[in-house]
Amino acid sequence: MATRSVVPFGPQHPVLPEPIHLDLVLEDEKVVEAIPSIGFIHRGLEKLVEKKDFNEMVYVAERTCGICSFGHGYGYVDAVEHIMNIEVPERAQYLRTILFEMSRLHSHLLWLGLLADAFGFESLFMDTWRIREQILNMFEEATGGRVIFSINKIGGLRKDIPNEMLLSFVDRLDGIEKETRVAAKSFLEDSAVKSRLCGVGILTAKEAEELGCCGPMLRASGIRRDTRELGYGAYDDLDLHITTSNKGDSYARTEVRLGEIFQSIDLIKQAVKKIPDGPFDTPVKGFPNGEYMSRIEQPRGEACYYVKANGTKFVTRMRIRTPTFANIPALTKILQGCDMADVPIMIVTIDPCISCTER
């Protein structure tokens, strides 16, 4: 029997954008077990509800993570709106959906770049990030911020996005789609890329279900589950085609995320066609009293926002359950039996967002 050794992986590692530590128990070159430990980036944002009033808390919720910032703000706002029984105008719902799909686009393009970086394809990495830059520019035009948008507020949006601007976005999205299709060809057809992704880190549908995976990780294992199907925001009116794959390996996860990019572009186009005119926010009176659990589909998977309020201007409790937290058990599962050299790819394929997970 080969001797076992433990190799520490992270929290500082070239492939990791954020700090997570894994103790890899190795038998020769094979990983036998992976023990994750988190806690390097905990900021105590949930505790801040006691100090910031429920309107100001939107800014804090947004800062949970830089990539899913719009989704976090949306989730919190959605929960408070349900507690206060606020009827959000339809235009605001549509605009939120458009911005949310745009943030899914930029998150997935960022992920593709990180993946290309992980398997050492530098120019593809730069190419996907160049494409992503155009979406950040669109965000800046629409909201004024590139990463933190501060556009959500309880009752709607703080600024309207004019229809002309939305139409110009659609024009630019055509170009982005074209460029992404070229990049997608390299991801899906390149033999060198395929040799790094195909058959690596297989997660079967049963395992994915048992380990409680969510998002593209679950859909790549062949389970068709997407929180957007619940029909929050404007998703009810849009034609949603959920991308799934049956292979369950790293290649399937790339395929699913690439499929979601094109699907998001399609959703934005549909939403821009259907968006109604009218008010984009509604006045809010009083303080929230009650509790609600809001579920939304973040780029990385299903996220839950629990808000409990007692009728004062401070919310008593806010809790965010993030998709990466649900996917870490699956990560430890797929790491078992893989080669040491494949560990970085596998960590990247779950699309870890540690700052969300630890808040």
Partner: protein, 150 residues
């Protein structure tokens, strides 16, 4: 086969302009909504303190007694809640980003002389009105007392 897929892209990149900008020679283009930093037009400010109340990070300090409006730019999160709440529309969100620095400075804005005079004039008029109202009330009371006596 794999190499052929990307060759076209590589050749195109070789003969095209870089997609990055040659900053600072080529200046950044800001959009109309870019949130950079907060400026205050002290010729319009009345030091009402609404911005201070609205600021989620407590970056703004308004002192009526000293006639100053101060912001600590390193605490500001560019949410523009103060700009939205400003009743006199003297606050504005400028496009240029806040300059970096070695220490956490506080930017202090003093009221302009003209605005100081205007505010003093307004305060004087308000005081006169209050005094007149007080005098009228006293006269009314005295008249009522006189009426009761007779």
């Amino acid at each position: 086969m794999g190499a052929i897929n990307y060759t076209g892209k590589v050749l195109k990149n070789l003969f095209s302009k870089p997609s990055t900008k040659r900053y600072p020679e080529e200046p950044i283009k800001f959009t109309d909504r870019t949130r950079g930093h907060i400026e205050n037009d002290m010729d319009k400010c009345v030091l009402c303190g609404v911005c201070q109340m609205r600021c989620p990070t407590g970056a703004i300090k308004v002192s009526k007694s000293e006639g100053t409006w101060a912001i600590s730019p390193f605490s500001c999160i560019q949410c523009s809640a103060c700009v939205d709440g400003c009743p006199k529309k003297c606050l504005s969100m400028e496009h240029e980003y806040q300059e970096p620095g070695n220490e956490k400075i506080t930017k202090v804005f003093d009221l302009t002389e003209a605005q100081k005079e205007r505010l003093a004039e307004q305060a004087r008029i308000a005081a006169e009105k209050a005094a007149a109202a007080k005098a009228a009330l006293a006269a009314k009371k005295a008249a009522e007392e006189n009426g009761q006596n007779t």
